[in-house]
Protein backbone atom coordinates (compact mmCIF):
# COMPACT_ATOMS: atom_id res chain seq x y z
CA UNK A 1 0.00 0.00 0.00
CA UNK A 2 2.95 2.32 0.61
CA UNK A 3 3.37 3.63 -2.92
CA UNK A 4 4.24 7.15 -4.03
CA UNK A 5 0.62 8.28 -3.86
CA UNK A 6 0.21 7.32 -0.23
CA UNK A 7 0.61 10.37 2.02
CA UNK A 8 3.68 10.13 4.22
CA UNK A 9 1.68 9.85 7.43
CA UNK A 10 -0.29 6.85 6.16
CA UNK A 11 2.94 4.98 5.35
CA UNK A 12 3.41 4.71 9.12
CA UNK A 13 1.42 1.56 9.99
CA UNK A 14 0.72 2.77 13.53
CA UNK A 15 -0.70 5.99 12.19
CA UNK A 16 -2.84 4.08 9.74
CA UNK A 17 -4.25 1.90 12.55
CA UNK A 18 -5.11 5.03 14.50
CA UNK A 19 -6.80 6.72 11.55
CA UNK A 20 -8.87 3.64 10.74
CA UNK A 21 -9.91 3.58 14.40
CA UNK A 22 -10.81 7.25 14.34
CA UNK A 23 -12.78 7.03 11.08
CA UNK A 24 -14.49 3.86 12.31
CA UNK A 25 -15.57 5.60 15.51
CA UNK A 26 -16.80 8.69 13.68
CA UNK A 27 -18.60 6.59 11.05
CA UNK A 28 -20.45 4.50 13.62
CA UNK A 29 -21.24 7.66 15.58
CA UNK A 30 -22.86 9.15 12.47
CA UNK A 31 -24.75 5.96 11.65
CA UNK A 32 -26.23 5.79 15.15
CA UNK A 33 -26.96 9.53 15.04
CA UNK A 34 -28.96 8.88 11.88
CA UNK A 35 -30.82 6.05 13.59
CA UNK A 36 -31.60 7.87 16.79
CA UNK A 37 -32.66 11.12 15.13
CA UNK A 38 -34.98 9.17 12.84
CA UNK A 39 -36.35 7.42 15.93
CA UNK A 40 -36.78 10.69 17.85
CA UNK A 41 -38.50 12.28 14.84
CA UNK A 42 -41.45 10.04 15.66
CA UNK A 43 -42.15 12.16 18.73
CA UNK A 44 -42.44 15.36 16.70
CA UNK A 45 -45.64 17.28 17.48
CA UNK A 46 -46.03 18.53 13.89
CA UNK A 47 -45.09 17.35 10.42
CA UNK A 48 -42.83 20.40 10.06
CA UNK A 49 -40.88 19.41 13.18
CA UNK A 50 -40.71 15.83 12.04
CA UNK A 51 -39.30 16.94 8.70
CA UNK A 52 -36.69 19.11 10.45
CA UNK A 53 -35.37 16.20 12.51
CA UNK A 54 -35.53 13.94 9.45
CA UNK A 55 -33.35 16.49 7.62
CA UNK A 56 -30.77 16.22 10.40
CA UNK A 57 -30.89 12.44 10.30
CA UNK A 58 -30.42 12.48 6.56
CA UNK A 59 -27.41 14.83 6.87
CA UNK A 60 -25.85 12.46 9.42
CA UNK A 61 -26.29 9.63 6.95
CA UNK A 62 -24.40 11.76 4.41
CA UNK A 63 -21.55 12.20 6.89
CA UNK A 64 -21.51 8.49 7.52
CA UNK A 65 -21.30 7.75 3.79
CA UNK A 66 -18.32 10.12 3.37
CA UNK A 67 -16.45 8.53 6.29
CA UNK A 68 -17.22 5.02 5.07
CA UNK A 69 -15.99 5.87 1.57
CA UNK A 70 -12.75 7.15 3.10
CA UNK A 71 -12.30 3.87 4.98
CA UNK A 72 -12.80 1.99 1.73
CA UNK A 73 -10.23 4.26 0.05
CA UNK A 74 -7.79 3.30 2.83
CA UNK A 75 -8.48 -0.37 2.00
CA UNK A 76 -10.14 -0.85 5.39
CA UNK A 77 -13.39 -2.78 5.88
CA UNK A 78 -15.91 -0.22 7.21
CA UNK A 79 -17.93 -2.76 9.24
CA UNK A 80 -14.73 -4.07 10.85
CA UNK A 81 -13.49 -0.56 11.57
CA UNK A 82 -16.78 0.35 13.24
CA UNK A 83 -17.16 -2.86 15.24
CA UNK A 84 -14.99 -1.85 18.24
CA UNK A 85 -17.19 1.19 18.85
CA UNK A 86 -20.61 -0.39 18.60
CA UNK A 87 -20.94 -1.19 22.30
CA UNK A 88 -19.89 2.27 23.48
CA UNK A 89 -22.16 4.25 21.17
CA UNK A 90 -25.07 1.89 21.78
CA UNK A 91 -24.54 2.28 25.54
CA UNK A 92 -24.48 6.06 25.17
CA UNK A 93 -27.79 6.06 23.29
CA UNK A 94 -29.35 3.58 25.69
CA UNK A 95 -28.43 5.81 28.61
CA UNK A 96 -29.71 8.91 26.87
CA UNK A 97 -32.95 7.82 25.23
CA UNK A 98 -35.14 10.97 25.25
CA UNK A 99 -38.46 10.51 26.98
CA UNK A 100 -40.20 13.22 24.96
CA UNK A 101 -39.85 15.53 21.98
CA UNK A 102 -38.09 18.36 23.87
CA UNK A 103 -35.48 16.00 25.33
CA UNK A 104 -34.97 14.73 21.80
CA UNK A 105 -34.46 18.26 20.52
CA UNK A 106 -31.96 19.12 23.24
CA UNK A 107 -30.09 15.91 22.53
CA UNK A 108 -30.01 16.66 18.80
CA UNK A 109 -28.72 20.18 19.38
CA UNK A 110 -26.24 19.38 22.14
CA UNK A 111 -25.06 16.18 20.49
CA UNK A 112 -24.57 17.79 17.10
CA UNK A 113 -22.60 20.62 18.69
CA UNK A 114 -20.40 18.34 20.79
CA UNK A 115 -19.67 16.13 17.81
CA UNK A 116 -18.75 19.16 15.68
CA UNK A 117 -16.41 20.44 18.42
CA UNK A 118 -14.78 17.06 18.77
CA UNK A 119 -14.28 16.82 15.00
CA UNK A 120 -12.62 20.24 14.99
CA UNK A 121 -10.29 19.27 17.87
CA UNK A 122 -9.27 16.01 16.34
CA UNK A 123 -8.68 17.53 12.90
CA UNK A 124 -5.43 19.02 14.20
CA UNK A 125 -3.90 15.57 14.68
CA UNK A 126 -4.51 13.98 11.30
CA UNK A 127 -3.05 14.17 7.79
CA UNK A 128 -4.24 16.83 5.35
CA UNK A 129 -6.64 14.60 3.36
CA UNK A 130 -8.33 13.26 6.47
CA UNK A 131 -8.48 16.77 7.91
CA UNK A 132 -10.21 18.07 4.82
CA UNK A 133 -12.76 15.26 4.98
CA UNK A 134 -13.41 15.90 8.67
CA UNK A 135 -13.82 19.64 8.26
CA UNK A 136 -15.99 19.12 5.20
CA UNK A 137 -18.19 16.73 7.18
CA UNK A 138 -18.70 19.57 9.63
CA UNK A 139 -19.58 22.14 7.03
CA UNK A 140 -23.22 21.26 6.57
CA UNK A 141 -24.34 21.35 10.16
CA UNK A 142 -26.77 24.11 11.04
CA UNK A 143 -29.72 21.76 10.76
CA UNK A 144 -30.01 21.78 14.52
CA UNK A 145 -30.59 25.54 14.78
CA UNK A 146 -34.35 25.08 14.61
CA UNK A 147 -34.09 23.40 18.03
CA UNK A 148 -33.12 26.68 19.68
CA UNK A 149 -36.36 28.42 18.82
CA UNK A 150 -38.47 25.39 19.77
CA UNK A 151 -36.80 24.85 23.15
CA UNK A 152 -36.85 28.54 24.07
CA UNK A 153 -40.54 28.90 23.33
CA UNK A 154 -41.36 25.74 25.31
CA UNK A 155 -39.54 27.21 28.32
CA UNK A 156 -41.31 30.54 27.88
CA UNK A 157 -44.64 28.70 28.01
CA UNK A 158 -43.72 26.61 31.02
CA UNK A 159 -40.57 27.56 32.98
CA UNK A 160 -40.59 24.23 34.86
CA UNK A 161 -39.53 22.64 31.57
CA UNK A 162 -36.27 24.64 31.76
CA UNK A 163 -35.18 22.98 35.01
CA UNK A 164 -35.86 19.51 33.70
CA UNK A 165 -34.08 20.12 30.39
CA UNK A 166 -31.07 21.68 32.17
CA UNK A 167 -30.60 18.45 34.13
CA UNK A 168 -31.05 16.50 30.93
CA UNK A 169 -28.35 18.54 29.18
CA UNK A 170 -25.95 17.86 32.04
CA UNK A 171 -26.65 14.16 31.82
CA UNK A 172 -26.03 14.17 28.07
CA UNK A 173 -22.64 15.83 28.26
CA UNK A 174 -21.56 13.73 31.23
CA UNK A 175 -22.49 10.54 29.43
CA UNK A 176 -20.84 11.67 26.18
CA UNK A 177 -17.55 12.62 27.81
CA UNK A 178 -17.35 9.51 29.94
CA UNK A 179 -18.02 7.24 26.97
CA UNK A 180 -15.44 9.18 24.94
CA UNK A 181 -12.87 8.58 27.67
CA UNK A 182 -13.65 4.86 27.68
CA UNK A 183 -13.12 4.72 23.93
CA UNK A 184 -9.78 6.50 23.98
CA UNK A 185 -8.58 4.46 26.95
CA UNK A 186 -9.54 1.12 25.37
CA UNK A 187 -8.22 1.75 21.88
CA UNK A 188 -4.44 1.85 21.69
CA UNK A 189 -4.60 3.01 18.09
CA UNK A 190 -6.63 6.06 18.99
CA UNK A 191 -4.49 6.92 22.01
CA UNK A 192 -1.37 6.63 19.89
CA UNK A 193 -2.93 8.87 17.25
CA UNK A 194 -3.70 11.56 19.79
CA UNK A 195 -0.27 11.15 21.38
CA UNK A 196 1.35 12.13 18.05
CA UNK A 197 4.63 10.97 16.49
CA UNK A 198 8.05 12.34 15.58
CA UNK A 199 6.59 14.13 12.57
CA UNK A 200 3.11 14.82 13.93
CA UNK A 201 1.85 17.00 16.77
CA UNK A 202 0.36 15.17 19.73
CA UNK A 203 -1.55 15.70 22.92
CA UNK A 204 -0.14 15.02 26.35
CA UNK A 205 -2.44 14.46 29.30
CA UNK A 206 -2.55 18.19 30.07
CA UNK A 207 -3.59 18.90 26.48
CA UNK A 208 -6.33 16.29 26.69
CA UNK A 209 -7.53 17.97 29.87
CA UNK A 210 -7.62 21.31 28.06
CA UNK A 211 -9.54 19.78 25.20
CA UNK A 212 -12.18 18.45 27.58
CA UNK A 213 -12.33 21.89 29.19
CA UNK A 214 -12.95 23.50 25.79
CA UNK A 215 -15.64 20.95 24.94
CA UNK A 216 -17.38 21.58 28.27
CA UNK A 217 -17.16 25.34 27.82
CA UNK A 218 -18.71 25.24 24.36
CA UNK A 219 -21.39 22.96 25.71
CA UNK A 220 -22.23 25.56 28.36
CA UNK A 221 -22.56 28.19 25.64
CA UNK A 222 -24.93 26.00 23.69
CA UNK A 223 -27.03 25.36 26.79
CA UNK A 224 -27.20 29.13 27.34
CA UNK A 225 -28.36 29.56 23.75
CA UNK A 226 -31.18 27.12 24.46
CA UNK A 227 -32.03 29.16 27.56
CA UNK A 228 -30.80 26.44 29.91
CA UNK A 229 -28.42 26.51 32.88
CA UNK A 230 -25.38 24.31 32.14
Amino acid sequence: MADDDTPLALQDPNYRVGIVDLLGALAYGELTAFERLAEDAKMAPTLTDKAALAAMASAEYGHFAALRDRLVALAADPAEAMAPFVATFDRFHEHTAPSDWLEGLVKAYVGDGLAADFYREVAAYVDADTRELILHTLSDTGYSEFAVERVRSAIAEDPVVGGRLALWGRRLVGEALSQAQVVVAERDGLSALLAGGVDRPGMDLAAIGRMFARLTENHAERMAKLGLAA
Copy 2:
Protein backbone atom coordinates in the same frame (compact mmCIF):
# COMPACT_ATOMS: atom_id res chain seq x y z
CA MET B 1 -51.13 34.20 -8.09
CA ALA B 2 -52.19 33.99 -11.71
CA ASP B 3 -49.46 36.19 -13.19
CA ASP B 4 -47.63 35.74 -16.47
CA ASP B 5 -45.08 33.39 -14.90
CA THR B 6 -47.70 30.94 -13.68
CA PRO B 7 -48.00 27.99 -16.08
CA LEU B 8 -51.36 27.89 -17.80
CA ALA B 9 -52.46 24.71 -16.03
CA LEU B 10 -51.89 26.19 -12.58
CA GLN B 11 -54.10 29.18 -13.38
CA ASP B 12 -57.00 26.73 -13.24
CA PRO B 13 -57.88 26.67 -9.52
CA ASN B 14 -59.26 23.12 -9.72
CA TYR B 15 -56.04 21.91 -11.25
CA ARG B 16 -54.03 23.68 -8.58
CA VAL B 17 -56.08 21.97 -5.83
CA GLY B 18 -55.43 18.62 -7.46
CA ILE B 19 -51.70 19.23 -7.79
CA VAL B 20 -51.38 20.35 -4.17
CA ASP B 21 -53.24 17.17 -3.19
CA LEU B 22 -50.97 15.03 -5.32
CA LEU B 23 -47.76 16.65 -4.06
CA GLY B 24 -49.04 16.47 -0.48
CA ALA B 25 -49.72 12.75 -0.84
CA LEU B 26 -46.36 12.04 -2.45
CA ALA B 27 -44.53 14.17 0.15
CA TYR B 28 -46.12 12.42 3.10
CA GLY B 29 -45.50 9.09 1.41
CA GLU B 30 -41.79 9.92 1.18
CA LEU B 31 -41.61 11.18 4.74
CA THR B 32 -43.17 7.98 6.08
CA ALA B 33 -40.94 5.91 3.79
CA PHE B 34 -37.97 7.65 5.39
CA GLU B 35 -39.32 6.88 8.85
CA ARG B 36 -40.16 3.26 8.22
CA LEU B 37 -36.94 2.44 6.41
CA ALA B 38 -34.96 4.00 9.26
CA GLU B 39 -37.02 1.92 11.67
CA ASP B 40 -36.54 -1.28 9.65
CA ALA B 41 -32.79 -0.61 9.42
CA LYS B 42 -32.64 -1.52 13.11
CA MET B 43 -33.30 -5.15 12.21
CA ALA B 44 -30.30 -5.31 9.88
CA PRO B 45 -28.05 -8.30 10.63
CA THR B 46 -24.85 -6.42 9.74
CA LEU B 47 -23.64 -2.84 9.75
CA THR B 48 -23.31 -3.00 5.95
CA ASP B 49 -26.98 -3.94 5.60
CA LYS B 50 -27.98 -1.28 8.07
CA ALA B 51 -26.07 1.32 6.08
CA ALA B 52 -27.75 0.18 2.84
CA LEU B 53 -31.24 0.67 4.28
CA ALA B 54 -30.17 3.96 5.86
CA ALA B 55 -29.03 5.09 2.39
CA MET B 56 -32.50 4.38 1.05
CA ALA B 57 -34.15 6.20 3.94
CA SER B 58 -31.91 9.18 3.34
CA ALA B 59 -32.77 9.21 -0.38
CA GLU B 60 -36.48 9.20 0.51
CA TYR B 61 -35.89 12.18 2.74
CA GLY B 62 -34.31 13.93 -0.26
CA HIS B 63 -37.41 13.20 -2.34
CA PHE B 64 -39.60 14.53 0.44
CA ALA B 65 -37.59 17.77 0.59
CA ALA B 66 -37.94 18.31 -3.18
CA LEU B 67 -41.71 17.78 -3.05
CA ARG B 68 -42.08 20.02 0.00
CA ASP B 69 -40.09 22.78 -1.71
CA ARG B 70 -42.38 22.52 -4.70
CA LEU B 71 -45.43 22.92 -2.45
CA VAL B 72 -43.84 26.02 -0.92
CA ALA B 73 -43.17 27.36 -4.43
CA LEU B 74 -46.89 26.91 -5.16
CA ALA B 75 -47.66 28.97 -2.02
CA ALA B 76 -49.15 25.90 -0.34
CA ASP B 77 -48.47 24.94 3.28
CA PRO B 78 -46.70 21.55 3.16
CA ALA B 79 -48.05 20.35 6.52
CA GLU B 80 -51.60 21.24 5.48
CA ALA B 81 -51.17 19.61 2.09
CA MET B 82 -49.93 16.40 3.72
CA ALA B 83 -52.54 16.29 6.50
CA PRO B 84 -55.34 14.58 4.50
CA PHE B 85 -53.03 11.65 3.74
CA VAL B 86 -51.61 10.99 7.18
CA ALA B 87 -54.26 8.48 8.25
CA THR B 88 -54.05 6.44 5.05
CA PHE B 89 -50.27 6.14 4.95
CA ASP B 90 -50.06 5.46 8.67
CA ARG B 91 -52.68 2.73 8.27
CA PHE B 92 -50.73 1.21 5.39
CA HIS B 93 -47.55 1.06 7.48
CA GLU B 94 -49.40 -0.25 10.53
CA HIS B 95 -50.84 -3.07 8.44
CA THR B 96 -47.48 -3.86 6.87
CA ALA B 97 -45.00 -3.62 9.73
CA PRO B 98 -42.29 -6.16 8.84
CA SER B 99 -41.71 -8.77 11.51
CA ASP B 100 -38.10 -9.37 10.53
CA TRP B 101 -35.25 -8.11 8.38
CA LEU B 102 -36.22 -10.08 5.26
CA GLU B 103 -39.80 -8.81 5.34
CA GLY B 104 -38.35 -5.33 5.72
CA LEU B 105 -36.14 -5.85 2.66
CA VAL B 106 -39.03 -7.12 0.55
CA LYS B 107 -41.14 -4.17 1.65
CA ALA B 108 -38.36 -1.73 0.78
CA TYR B 109 -37.86 -3.26 -2.65
CA VAL B 110 -41.51 -3.77 -3.53
CA GLY B 111 -42.60 -0.45 -2.03
CA ASP B 112 -39.88 1.52 -3.79
CA GLY B 113 -40.78 -0.12 -7.10
CA LEU B 114 -44.51 0.44 -6.72
CA ALA B 115 -43.98 4.05 -5.77
CA ALA B 116 -41.70 4.62 -8.77
CA ASP B 117 -44.28 3.04 -11.09
CA PHE B 118 -47.04 5.17 -9.65
CA TYR B 119 -44.94 8.32 -10.07
CA ARG B 120 -44.33 7.43 -13.70
CA GLU B 121 -48.04 6.84 -14.34
CA VAL B 122 -49.15 10.05 -12.72
CA ALA B 123 -46.47 12.14 -14.46
CA ALA B 124 -48.56 11.95 -17.64
CA TYR B 125 -51.37 13.99 -16.07
CA VAL B 126 -49.50 16.98 -14.71
CA ASP B 127 -47.93 20.16 -16.07
CA ALA B 128 -44.37 20.14 -17.42
CA ASP B 129 -42.67 21.57 -14.29
CA THR B 130 -44.37 19.12 -11.96
CA ARG B 131 -43.62 16.29 -14.37
CA GLU B 132 -39.95 17.17 -14.41
CA LEU B 133 -39.87 17.21 -10.60
CA ILE B 134 -41.66 13.86 -10.38
CA LEU B 135 -39.41 12.18 -12.94
CA HIS B 136 -36.34 13.70 -11.29
CA THR B 137 -37.50 12.37 -7.94
CA LEU B 138 -37.50 8.95 -9.54
CA SER B 139 -34.05 9.23 -11.01
CA ASP B 140 -32.03 8.29 -7.95
CA THR B 141 -33.75 5.07 -7.06
CA GLY B 142 -31.64 1.94 -7.43
CA TYR B 143 -30.81 1.94 -3.73
CA SER B 144 -33.13 -1.00 -3.30
CA GLU B 145 -31.22 -3.27 -5.70
CA PHE B 146 -29.12 -4.68 -2.86
CA ALA B 147 -32.33 -6.28 -1.56
CA VAL B 148 -32.47 -8.65 -4.53
CA GLU B 149 -29.21 -10.35 -3.73
CA ARG B 150 -30.01 -10.59 -0.02
CA VAL B 151 -33.47 -12.05 -0.49
CA ARG B 152 -32.35 -14.53 -3.15
CA SER B 153 -29.54 -15.86 -1.02
CA ALA B 154 -31.85 -16.19 2.02
CA ILE B 155 -34.22 -18.30 -0.09
CA ALA B 156 -31.35 -20.39 -1.42
CA GLU B 157 -30.34 -21.16 2.17
CA ASP B 158 -33.86 -21.98 3.30
CA PRO B 159 -36.56 -22.45 0.63
CA VAL B 160 -39.35 -22.23 3.25
CA VAL B 161 -38.51 -18.54 3.50
CA GLY B 162 -39.61 -18.12 -0.12
CA GLY B 163 -43.18 -19.21 0.59
CA ARG B 164 -43.52 -16.91 3.55
CA LEU B 165 -42.08 -13.91 1.68
CA ALA B 166 -44.29 -14.56 -1.36
CA LEU B 167 -47.38 -14.26 0.85
CA TRP B 168 -45.89 -11.14 2.41
CA GLY B 169 -45.36 -9.55 -1.02
CA ARG B 170 -48.97 -10.25 -1.94
CA ARG B 171 -50.15 -8.64 1.26
CA LEU B 172 -47.99 -5.58 0.60
CA VAL B 173 -49.33 -4.95 -2.88
CA GLY B 174 -52.92 -5.62 -1.84
CA GLU B 175 -52.66 -3.19 1.03
CA ALA B 176 -50.93 -0.55 -1.13
CA LEU B 177 -53.51 -0.70 -3.92
CA SER B 178 -56.49 -0.70 -1.59
CA GLN B 179 -55.17 2.32 0.35
CA ALA B 180 -54.43 4.07 -2.96
CA GLN B 181 -58.02 3.54 -4.05
CA VAL B 182 -59.31 4.96 -0.76
CA VAL B 183 -57.18 8.06 -1.25
CA VAL B 184 -58.34 8.71 -4.80
CA ALA B 185 -61.98 8.06 -3.89
CA GLU B 186 -61.90 10.39 -0.88
CA ARG B 187 -60.06 13.29 -2.46
CA ASP B 188 -62.11 15.13 -5.06
CA GLY B 189 -59.07 17.19 -6.06
CA LEU B 190 -57.08 14.11 -6.90
CA SER B 191 -59.94 12.43 -8.77
CA ALA B 192 -60.47 15.61 -10.78
CA LEU B 193 -56.76 15.75 -11.57
CA LEU B 194 -56.77 12.20 -12.88
CA ALA B 195 -60.03 12.84 -14.76
CA GLY B 196 -58.30 15.58 -16.77
CA GLY B 197 -59.72 18.82 -18.21
CA VAL B 198 -60.47 20.41 -21.57
CA ASP B 199 -56.78 21.12 -22.15
CA ARG B 200 -55.35 18.16 -20.25
CA PRO B 201 -55.47 14.42 -20.84
CA GLY B 202 -57.44 12.42 -18.29
CA MET B 203 -58.19 8.89 -17.21
CA ASP B 204 -61.60 7.31 -17.42
CA LEU B 205 -62.47 4.30 -15.29
CA ALA B 206 -61.18 1.90 -17.92
CA ALA B 207 -57.86 3.75 -17.99
CA ILE B 208 -57.61 3.58 -14.21
CA GLY B 209 -58.25 -0.15 -14.45
CA ARG B 210 -55.45 -0.48 -17.01
CA MET B 211 -53.14 1.52 -14.76
CA PHE B 212 -53.79 -0.84 -11.86
CA ALA B 213 -53.17 -3.76 -14.21
CA ARG B 214 -49.79 -2.30 -15.22
CA LEU B 215 -48.84 -1.69 -11.58
CA THR B 216 -49.75 -5.26 -10.68
CA GLU B 217 -47.84 -6.64 -13.65
CA ASN B 218 -44.67 -4.75 -12.76
CA HIS B 219 -45.07 -5.89 -9.19
CA ALA B 220 -45.13 -9.49 -10.38
CA GLU B 221 -41.90 -8.89 -12.29
CA ARG B 222 -40.23 -7.51 -9.20
CA MET B 223 -41.38 -10.48 -7.15
CA ALA B 224 -39.89 -12.78 -9.80
CA LYS B 225 -36.62 -10.86 -9.58
CA LEU B 226 -36.58 -11.52 -5.84
CA GLY B 227 -37.18 -15.20 -6.58
CA LEU B 228 -40.75 -15.07 -5.24
CA ALA B 229 -44.09 -16.18 -6.68
CA ALA B 230 -46.37 -13.16 -7.13
